[in-house]
């Protein structure tokens, strides 16, 4: 790990200012992804701004009938919250499908949104990778791509967004609240938060320099039955090959987003309209633009079958 200086921030805006004041500064909250990457010298910040002392660790009800989740609420606390379990079951299910108990105790709501890809070439500093070292090329497109994106990638990068929590937040229409160094706040719909790689795969989200996530808000409950089905190589503690976050209503309508298959949680509201017509009708639209590699083409039928399983369970 490279050496770095360290400070504890005193307020969200002060944290944003501290991160802005230096080149190559990063926020640290749970640290479970950042420190892993720092040990491998994939991340090499020279200054860390510790945001753990900022509060931001409560879940409050909003005037709109939803929930406002502080950015520092742990994955465990969020999954176990009584209101989340009752009204946003897809979110609890998604969180507990990810990582291990130890990691979920440390990982935070804000940090989890910023989790970086698990592409093996991103992790291997001996290999070209446009996300880690822009301009060096993508090793994955012609390489081992079994776990990587079948849709949404580009000629520059086919990394997948690895998280589960954000996939559930996508079907719930969550919004991300931030503060910048000037104290300005803004709200970013989760649909716009994660970026597709295009020609700049190193730009993974909408955040500007110094901007700090302070909370994630959920709109009022939309009811329905909530599902998160995750297909992976082992039954626990593994990243998704494909995951399906879904809310299914009595009349067969609903919402669906996919994880593990794209550079961001993958949802298309026009495809969703096909839910009463079954999984293949949905996937024909949702994955119409899929460009899988030979190694990951299995993900396209796997996504359809996983949704079919969800819809079948919803009927039964």
């Amino acid at each position: 790990m490279r050496a770095f200086s360290y400070e504890r921030a005193s307020s969200p805006q002060a944290a944003a200012q501290a991160a802005m004041a230096r080149d190559n500064a990063k926020f640290i909250a749970g640290g479970t992804n950042l420190l892993d990457l720092m040990k491998l010298e994939i991340e090499t910040p020279t200054h860390l701004v510790d945001v753990n002392g900022l509060g931001l660790d409560t879940i409050e009800e909003t005037d709109a009938g939803g929930l406002r989740i502080g950015a520092l609420v742990s994955n465990t606390a969020l999954a176990a919250d009584e209101r989340v379990r009752r009204d946003y079951g897809v979110l609890t299910r998604a969180i507990v499908a990810g990582a291990s108990g130890q990691l979920r105790n440390k990982a935070t709501t804000g940090g989890n949104l910023l989790q970086r890809t698990r592409c093996p070439y991103f992790y291997d500093t001996n290999m070209p990778c446009n996300k880690r070292a822009p301009g060096t090329g993508c090793s994955a497109i012609e390489g081992f791509s079994r776990s990587l994106a079948a849709i949404g990638g580009s000629d520059f990068c086919i990394a997948t967004y690895p998280g589960d929590m954000a996939v559930a937040m996508r079907v719930l229409d969550a919004e991300i609240e931030t503060v910048d160094p000037d104290g300005e706040t803004r709200t970013i719909p989760i649909a716009d938060f994660h970026k597709l790689p295009g020609e700049t795969p190193e730009v993974e989200n909408e955040l500007r320099p110094g901007e700090l996530i302070t909370a994630v808000t959920l709109p009022a409950s939309v009811g329905g039955r909530h599902f998160y089905h995750k297909v992976r190589d082992r039954s626990s503690y593994a990243f998704a090959l494909v995951s399906v976050a879904a809310i299914v209503n009595e009349d067969g309508t609903g919402r669906v987003a996919l994880g593990g298959i794209a550079p961001k949680p993958w949802r298309d509201e026009t495809a969703e309209a096909e839910m009463p017509n079954g999984a293949s009708a949905v996937m024909r639209r949702l994955l119409a633009d899929a460009k899988p590699t030979e190694e990951n083409q299995f993900k396209v039928p796997l996504a359809e079958r996983t949704l079919a399983a969800v819809l079948s369970e919803a009927k039964g």
């Binding site: 230096r22 420190l35 299910r93 130890q102 990691l103």
Partner: protein, 222 residues
């Protein structure tokens, strides 16, 4: 290359030397503050640089107050093992994948390898040494011995810390991936225990005996 000499060494020299032989130099190889890379590394500047890379932190470990000064890079795991000589907590993968380093911080189990010591000001840390002693074993330690829940023993401190937390998390109603009804009470079934222990890897494969040990302790508490 033009070099400004100040005390015989410039920061650029330091970086070059540091990059080649990082292990033998106390100074970091990092370019600290990109704008200042060319600044001469005077004695004072070096002292300030060095000081900025270390921090003091105070926390309690197994009930004892500890004040330590560490390089900012020091993980909680390394602080426990190297700084405080509490070597019960083990370093396995050092990347949060194996669970050998599991300790409790403020009542929640975490991977001590994936957190910095300086991030734990005022925290209460419990390592395997804080659970029991050879003469007064924690019930989970006794159960691991009774059920032969290990072979080489390297992952065992992490397994025991995690096992204790697993039963506490079930009692606290925290749902898991295998919980059928996430709105209801949770039964400490074999599947629940297995799922919750999936962050602790045992290369010897003592899993069935670890499960038996945890079930034994669950029964004692019931």
């Amino acid at each position: 290359m033009k070099r400004e000499h100040n005390g015989g060494i410039t920061r650029r020299d330091l970086m070059i030397v540091g990059a080649a032989t990082a292990a033998t130099y106390a100074f970091p190889k990092v370019a600290y503050g990109q704008a200042n890379v060319e600044a001469p590394a005077s004695g004072e500047a070096l002292k300030a640089l060095d000081a900025s890379l270390k921090s003091e932190v105070s926390f309690t470990v197994n009930g004892t107050a500890r004040d330590i000064a560490v390089d900012n890079r020091t993980t909680l795991l390394d602080a426990l093992r190297e700084t405080l000589q509490l070597t019960g907590t083990k370093k396995g993968c050092d990347h949060g994948q194996c669970g050998a380093c599991t300790v409790s911080v403020n009542g929640r189990r975490i991977n001590s390898c994936l957190t910095l010591a300086v991030m734990h000001q005022d925290d209460e840390i419990t390592s395997i040494e804080g659970l029991g002693t050879p003469d007064d074993l924690h019930p989970m330690q006794a159960a691991f011995i009774e059920h032969d829940g290990y072979q080489c023993g390297y992952c065992t401190p992490g397994q025991i810390c995690s096992a204790k937390a697993t039963l506490e998390e079930i009692r606290a109603g925290i749902p898991s991936h295998v919980t059928a009804d996430i709105t209801g009470p949770i039964e400490a079934s074999d599947d629940e225990i297995r799922e919750r222990m999936s962050g602790n890897i045992c290369r010897c494969g003592a899993y069935s005996n670890i499960l038996a040990a945890i079930k034994d302790v669950k029964g004692q508490n019931a």
